[in-house]
Amino acid sequence: MEPLLEILTDNARTSNETIAQMLGQPVEAVAARIRQLEDEKIILGYKALVDAEKAEAERVRAVIEVKITPERDGGFNRIANRIARYDEVHSCHLMSGSYDLLVVVDGKDLKDVAQFVSGKLSTIQGVLSTATHFMLKSYKEQGTVIGVDETPERLKVSP
């Protein structure tokens, strides 16, 4: 990955000036490149990484294994796209192995998710079966370990 993207994926709030100085580039060049990455939809967005439990967000998340019938033209894409466009769907991936799509769904509560699965997801034509697993607790999210403070205690001055 290009260094600019590494810096932003590590901390999306790093200012253009700081990035420019870190990479030894003019700030205009950095700004232009970021705009280009955004235009090309290589950078899809900037979102805060939130510990939902601490934020007391009322939310349940489920991981759903979905089996679908591939179509003659387009394979899995058309159905996958249809599923992905629901607001309830947090992410959706085509998988190798014993099922086809891995769909992560957010809801207010268990009932909410269950309704989405039975009322919407499984009624889509081409969806053969679903298996729903509710997430109980998160230990690591997008590379960040949750609940363990790893800022080491260092001496303030050392040789």
Binding site: L155, K156, V157, P159
Partner: protein
């Protein structure tokens, strides 16, 4: 009435002669303050990569809690020999030319003690790491400093080495990349220095602890020059590149005779390095390269940022080519290193280390470590800028 005889000083004379470390003094002031942003830290801010910690945990689970061979666990010595051959181009026999030590600190100590007769002179370049001078004094040797200068990028010049040599000169200590200057030693200078060392039959102690943290060009060791392997003690460790300071693990590689001499001291004073740390070090050598390179990349970006900031402040500063220190000149402020560091601490709560802590040649400079998170570095830079702004430094750029 009997008067008490004046008790004699129970402390050995050569120990009395060792000055208090300038860093310790400063440390105590900083430690007593709160909310300090510190660029004064000479160790990585990264925690040891998890795979290394996990390997140590596993070895404890396996019950590996005993002594190892004095020289260190054979599998670790083999891995060290492979690593040094691959990355430094020098071959050592793991059976009798590699010794695992308690950090490079111990390696420096036993190397010096192994080679010095009382009164022997040891040359070292200054500004330098704080332990060299006292380590020589403790071994009853005579430290002889060679000053390096900002004009030469703090590299050591063969002519200066030659000038410092007397009939009592026994050894030359090198540390490139250098703590505190970040200097590297170009190959051409290495060659000229090697020539002088061969001519005067000097032993070279090369402290390579920052060698992986080289940002421009490939690091090369003086040990790989013709005629140098047989007179060089190659000192290296895991503290900096692999973020393993607290594990206290390092090593020395040298021809069998010198290794045997170091081993004689080590076997009685240390017995062996901690087995847990040896297990971790093995993991670092076998699987630690990628995480290490990722950390280096972070240091590089921080270095670029901080160097840029100092240039904008009008404090001239060579772009350090290695280690994780910036050594800007604070001469334009009209303050001494100590005044600068103390006032910066009091007025802006930023800790940097006064350059004279690394020898008199460091006066006029401060050491700023960028082994700290970007957010801290940004805060520190903004505060230093405010401080320097109040001193009204004439702009040089």
């Amino acid at each position: 009435m009997k008067t008490n005889p004046v008790p004699r000083n129970p402390v050995a004379e050569h120990v009395q002669r060792i000055p208090r470390s300038g860093i310790r003094d400063f440390f105590e002031i900083v430690q007593s303050m709160t909310d300090v942003v510190s660029l004064g830290i000479g160790e990585p801010d990264f925690v040891t990569p998890w795979h290394i910690r996990e390997a140590a945990i596993y070895s404890l689970e396996q019950g590996r809690t005993g002594y190892t061979s004095n020289l260190g666990a054979p599998k670790l010595r083999k891995a060290i020999a492979r690593y040094v051959a691959t990355h430094f181009g020098v071959s050592y026999d793991p059976a009798n030319e590699v010794i695992v030590t308690v950090g490079v600190s111990e390696a420096i100590d036993i190397a010096i003690r192994a080679i010095l007769n009382p009164g022997d002179e040891v040359l070292y370049h200054e500004p330098c790491y704080v332990s060299y001078n006292p380590s020589i004094v403790l071994a009853h040797g005579k430290p002889v400093r060679i000053s390096t200068s900002a004009e030469n990028g703090f590299a050591l010049k063969a002519a200066d080495v030659r000038r410092a040599i007397t009939p009592r000169t026994r050894a030359l200590m090198l540390n490139f990349p250098t703590n505190p200057t970040g200097a590297v030693l170009p190959r051409s200078d290495q060659e000229e220095i090697a020539e002088v060392c061969i001519e005067h039959d000097l032993v070279v102690l090369t402290d390579e602890i920052y060698s992986e943290l080289t940002y421009e060009g490939q690091h090369e060791t003086i040990a790989s020059l013709p005629g140098m392997r047989e007179r060089t003690i190659f000192l290296h460790g895991f503290s900096k590149a692999f973020a393993m300071t607290g594990w206290r693990i390092g090593y020395a590689c040298a021809p069998a005779g010198l290794t045997e001499a170091m081993m004689r001291i080590h076997q009685y004073s240390m017995l062996c390095a901690s087995i847990m740390s040896q297990e971790a070090a093995l993991e670092a050598l076998e699987h630690g390269r990628e995480p290490m390179l990722a950390m280096r990349e972070q240091y590089l970006r921080r270095r670029n940022f901080l160097t840029h900031q100092f240039h904008e402040m009008g404090l001239s500063c060579a772009v350090p080519k290695g280690a994780f220190y910036l050594f800007p000149s604070i001469a334009p402020t009209g303050l001494t290193s100590r005044e600068f560091a103390l006032r910066l601490l009091e007025e802006e709560k930023v800790a940097v280390v006064p350059g004279d802590a690394f020898g008199p040649g460091g006066e006029g400079f401060v050491r700023c470590s960028y082994a700290t998170g970007m957010d801290q570095i940004e805060t520190a830079a903004a505060r230093i800028r405010a401080f320097v702004g109040r001193l009204r430094v004439p702009a040089t750029v």
